[in-house]
Amino acid sequence: MNKTKFRQFVEFLLKNNLVIVPQYNVEGYLHLAELKNPKDLYLGTELPLDSWKWYLIPPFQKMFDYKNDQFKEILPKVGKQIFLGVSILDLQALTLLNQVFEQDPYYQEIKKKTIVIGTSHVPKENFYKYFAKFEEDKLEHLQFDIFLAVQKNGYKIYSGSEDGQRLLDKFKYKNYQHIEYAGPIREEGLDQQMVSVMDGMQNFHEQKIWDDLGKRCMQCGKCTIACPVCFCFRMYDQSNLEKDSGYRSRCWDTCFYNEFTQVAGPAPAAPKHRLMNTTSQKIYFWYEHHFVRTPASFSLPGCVGCGRCTRTCPADIDIFQTQRDILKARQRKK
């Protein structure tokens, strides 16, 4: 698809849909927002500060309304939305979220109305080397509807779902190739980098790494908000002003907060018991989720190497450096 055709394609998408894209805001930050003017669309190697999860697992989500003792399911009311310009790294993140929330009616309600259009752009600085070079056979392990592989004078187009095919057909574009999703595991087996970091954390534990991080981290939780694959949530009830009515909802949570592992409470007199009490325990738990638990449960990397956490961290904690430290400790102890 050459550049002129692509411009027409964007205009075609804008005609009937809400299109969310990376674009610069007035302060000069690249972030995600609804595309109003095709000129504002940014397609390039820089990643937006915020991640696509905002639009799939909203920070706050109503689950049920209640009146007296009766609960009524409230599914999110969203229209059709198109994510345009999802970096291949973020596609990897979305592929994971799709697995995690496979049985979740709230996620699925939004997902089924969402068209994901990926691109082969990857940030220049990226510890997760796998996507540094784009190859077509990497696509069959990612979930997307349409994919734009960057070429000299435009994009090579792939479809990854029937929804994607239908959309391209409607635009009367024929020159695309279909890729069938083949599950998370690649022909060459599990991602080697994923396996080594996991092995390092599980079998070559080095307490010093975590004690040092524990001294620097201030438990602000920003990294969990920035990360495209952090999805912890907490559920709570909120009553309305009107008597005996209200809602049950969920909102993002972060494992850096004290209440995260607290049992019994919150009455002032209740005994409080927490499983994680120190900062190093918490930051270890965070890394463990990304580098151990997710690969073990889904055979997918729990960190896509986007570097958003490093960019946001006020304590300058660099996840790529920590990965290098884990790998170094593994080398040393092996």
Binding site: Y236, R248, T261, P266, A270, L275, F285, R293
Partner: protein
């Protein structure tokens, strides 16, 4: 699409005060065909007060009702305590991996419980009463703070027909019961080390009891422990209850000690 978060209204059929700060609620079944195994739990809720997990405490074969025992510790449990016969409680579940009672068939069984840890093991005790031949000898070690916190006290005479019940109190108010922590029972009672052990209680209890048991020659793979964790979803998504590669809500709450030994102790997996 099926919504696992949907809660089913259960009618309170009976409220039985239990010790000084607990109550047992007998509830109508959440839905037809509800069944569970000892050690599994439900999410109980009241609109406006949220949800919390409770081990199912009733007889497995009861096809008409289930029971949960609730100690008053927080906002939700206080509100539950205000509920009367005929009121409704929301229930979803059952969730989690149960105690492997099949493994205990024909064998000696040791139940070690502390404080509010006894409800999830009551189905097993009731099962032993119902089928006295199913297990070989059943020993119960139960430790509590004082007389006023002993749960299910009225049932002890019946339990004693089939099980060997040993009670110990940390701060007894009378001289009727032995004084001391549950660990002291291991010094007084001789328990065959081939027994399958089931435990539920505060984490601090596990530490000392496990040391005693390993000392006596129990095998880690024959010791089963129920863990308590903060849980929100109950299906391995929200991450609150994660330990290592596992989720207490769905891979547990019951783990063998052999499994738990694989987790990093500095993260206090028990």
């Amino acid at each position: 699409m099926l919504n696992e978060y949907k809660t089913y209204n259960c009618k309170i059929l009976k409220v039985t005060p239990e010790a000084s700060d607990s109550k047992t609620f007998t509830l109508s079944l959440p839905y037809k065909g509800f069944s569970f195994e000892p050690g599994q739990y439900v999410m109980a809720s009241i609109p406006g007060f949220g949800e919390a997990i409770f081990g199912i405490a009733s007889e497995m074969n009861d096809k008409k009702s289930i029971q949960i025992t609730v100690r008053k510790v927080g906002t939700l449990t206080s509100e539950l305590h205000n509920k009367k016969k005929g009121d409704l409680i929301g229930i979803r579940g059952p969730y989690g991996r149960s105690f492997p009672i099949d493994l205990a068939k024909g064998k000696n069984v040791l139940i070690v419980v502390g404080g509010i840890g006894i409800p999830p093991l009551r189905p097993l005790i009731l099962d032993a009463l119902e089928n006295p031949k199913k297990y070989n000898k059943v020993y119960i070690f139960y430790g509590c703070r004082d007389e006023s916190t002993l749960l299910y006290a009225k049932e002890y005479p019946a339990w004693k027909n089939v099980c060997e019940l040993s009670l110990t109190l940390e701060k007894p108010l009378t001289s009727k019961y032995a004084k001391g922590l549950v660990t002291t029972l291991f010094d007084v009672k001789d328990i065959p080390a081939d027994a399958i052990a089931f435990m539920c209680g505060p984490p601090i209890m596990y530490k000392f009891v496990l040391a005693k048991m390993l000392d006596k020659g129990f095998k880690p793979e024959n010791i089963f422990i129920s863990l308590e964790r903060h849980m929100d979803c109950g299906q391995g998504v929200c991450q609150h209850c994660a330990i290592g590669t596992k989720y207490v809500c769905k891979d547990g709450p019951v783990f063998s000690y052999a499994e738990l030994m694989n987790f990093k102790s500095w993260l206090s997996p028990i």
